[in-house]
Amino acid sequence: MNITAPLLLQSLKVSGMKLAPPAPGTSPEATDLIPEELRDWLVRLRLLHDVPFAYFVADTQLLPEESIRWFYVDRRWTDALVQGALSVGTVNTDDRLQLTERYPEIRDALDTAERNVRRREGDPLMQGAAGPISGFILRSRAVSGWPGLHVRAFKDEPTEGDGFDYPDDHPLRMRLLRLERLAPAVLLCLFDGIPKEVHIQEPRQGVQFGVIQTLTDSGMTATLPVRNPTAGIDETSQSVSVRFRPNAAGVVDIQRLERDLAAKGGAGADSTLDSAEYALQLIRFPYRQIYGQPDTPRPNTDVVLRPTVRYVTLATVLFQDGVTPP
């Protein structure tokens, strides 16, 4: 017990302490930290939201059509951006002194908050100092024509081959800080770190059916590789030409295609294709472009998923008497 009554009395006499009651809605923490809305806005600013595009790419020659440009983010630049925002309303020396005192804390708070921007509900909070940020700008018709591109960044080379789906919380996956279309054909992506390998994938949107088409001045021709119906693998040596109904733009002669496929061995058990076998032949898998310098080349990396599609003509079995549908 260090305090004594005389000390207390003596001290209270000299102090004019008058404690304000706690203001409603302000927690003690609110005075110590930067307010949440302000912090979130500054983090958005640090990730270059709302910054005019001309400030990113100062000259069109730096980002020609059909190009992808990789970059590191200059933290000094983003710091300057935040400093500019914080300078609003600093009228006199006191204001500036106050800002000078608080600035290191603000910067640290933003560093932490920045890493958790795209954190999904339930993921652990990222801690630690801000690491480097990198990213790319993609200017291509691929951005405008395929809304919802998937971008996946990897800290290290994925060792699994095709068909392995790395979930978002996989340790190899690198967090995206920002993935946004700045213009219809311009995509900006920021990574929380420097990825070893980046995959840009065609949007999956479920399983798609289609052909491989070639456009000429006079019209469109298309081919379809014949897929081995039992293995589900493309037999690239075999392909059929897709035939179209005359004078009907894009209308495929479905039946003729079926006959052609059957002739090339695309049919299963019997000589004709049923609709399931037909669908199997038409399934197209999304394309994946990989950027990086793989140490060990991996085969078949251009297709996102290569599931072995088995076809079953057992609908009758399924609905046989006594068999309960699952």
Binding site: A58, G89, G219, R284, F319
Partner: protein, 672 residues
Amino acid sequence: MPVDQVPGNGEFLLYPNIPPKLLAGKYTLTAEQTITANGRTADQLPVDALDVHLDVRSPRLVLPPDQVLSTFPPAESEGAYGSRLPQVVIRRRTLPWERKVVGAPSTPLTPWLALVVVAEGEATLLPNVPAAQTVTSGVTLAGAIDADVGNCLEIRQSMVRTIFPTRKDVPLLAHARHVDINDTELMMGDDDGFLAVVVANRLPMAGRDADGAETPVKYTACLVNLEGQWDRLLPTAPTPVLTSVLIGLQTNVVLSAATMDKHVMGGPTNVRNVTDVPLSGGLVRATKPVDTMRYIADVSRDAAAAAQTRTSAGFSLTPTAKGVSKGEVSGVLATEKLRDPGIFDLDPLLRFPVLLHWRFTTIGSVTFELLMRNLDSGLLGTVARRPPADDAGRLPLELVDTGHVGIEQKTRRGDSVRAWYRGPFVPHPTDDSPSRRLPLAHASDQLRVVIPDGREDLSLASAFEIGRLLALANPNMVAALLRWRQLHYATVRRTSAWQVNAALLGAIDGFVLTKRIGSGAATELTRAMMRAVTNAPSQFLGSPRPLVDPGLKLPFAGDATTLMANAFGLPALRGDPGRVLETLQKTPVRVAKITERVGRVPGEAFTELDATVLGRTLETRVERLVSDAVPQLRDVQPTRGGTSRRTRGPSRDALDEAIDRLSRSRSTEPDE
């Protein structure tokens, strides 16, 4: 069930069809029972047959929204979908085979649904049509219809033969799928993993304009009901071609009435091109003649090809029309005049119920793979392999290895000079160690740098300025910033006031004088003080009074009378009893005069309200005390009656009685 029939991870199984046990419709289930017994025949023990009526329902005109798991291409989206067949995924696996199309073969089992893709202007989607009119007149849908109104596609017979699947195609375009129920992407929100898929027969390609450039084309995908109109489909496809035509620039022509007559009669026509004919919404009919534009018709760009279409579709105009030099009239955008039965019996308008429709736009037709393979990939700062052709007259790009580019700068004095600029994206890693972070600047001028070549580097100054402007552009942020600063000032003020007593406050156990005093510090201090006081009460409140005071020691001296008189403190009581009595009578008795009632404001009447409030307060306190003391009594309901006072106290006690008495007496007493 064979193992084969459960899809593994990343797998799915395809079925050509999954027919339902019962097609949609009304059924009667008849249960008959035959009973025999010893010596009795079945006739002697008759049992009535039991009829149970069943109605197997299935969507017919409208597909319930929850049955649609996905559509591809996504509704209202734009993209390069030209190499993909549109499709719709339906939750109920049996849906495409739940109805029977009259006339269609049963092997292979024919679905009653087809997905047709209609380009802008090829047909008309009519919304909210009475159910009976959603099919071509003359066709009736037997049986129950699930909706009063539905959508329908109004389309020329010739166009049906152009874009609808043939009778042979339809069975190939629907299948069922069994997906792994753990694969969310394939499941798409289904419940059992079984899905039905209907695929279209048309690649929705982008169009071409007159210069050969690609133009967007709007498509509508319609899931149509084929019931009753099987014979409208082509039996087999016409001889196919290897190269599909592209949707060209639609040459819209305006024919005057007279021209139309000439056209039909084979005379020379005076066709003039019209652009920008308003075809709003793509599928809205242009039924009203617009002033002199009596007839709007598409003229196919290739007369011969058009003629072939007509022929193959079993349709041709009257022979006199063959002489028309430039194309034939396709009936898609026909006007009222063109509805003359004489002409249009040949190419009637058909209607198909549309269960589901969505729109999308195809732009371009280059493939994703091709685009991605040919991307020019490099670090920012890589100059294009060939400069764009249209930058004649511009200064050559001034670019250095650090990523800086030379830009025009107009100084404050108005001079036009060159400066360096580099955006936030740089082609090399930056040093982000804490010591290298940018020290705080308060004005953008602090960040202007003159580099050795004499030019200014404006990169950071621009960043500062754009940050400032962005903050200023957002009033909420300005307000938040000022509010936060104000709050901080208040905290600092408070802290400095408290720092005066730092020596004292620091000495209090359990109270940490932080660098900044928050608004909760007072509470913290109070608690710490209370702890300090209770830990050593003698220092603050004095020594506690002993529980029992020792009694006074009485002096036993003299006789009993004197002793008693002394004990009473009245020595005069000694002696003669008569004098004692007299003295006692004369001695005034001091009686305290009670002028105020305790607990009341003087002069105020004690009202009923006071009594109620006091009573409630007391009850609450008593309850709380009791429930704290005896927790298990907390849930005991009071036995005492009364509606106005619902208390959960254990029972009435003396205080209750006192309050009641007081309030009773006060309420009957007149006011003071």
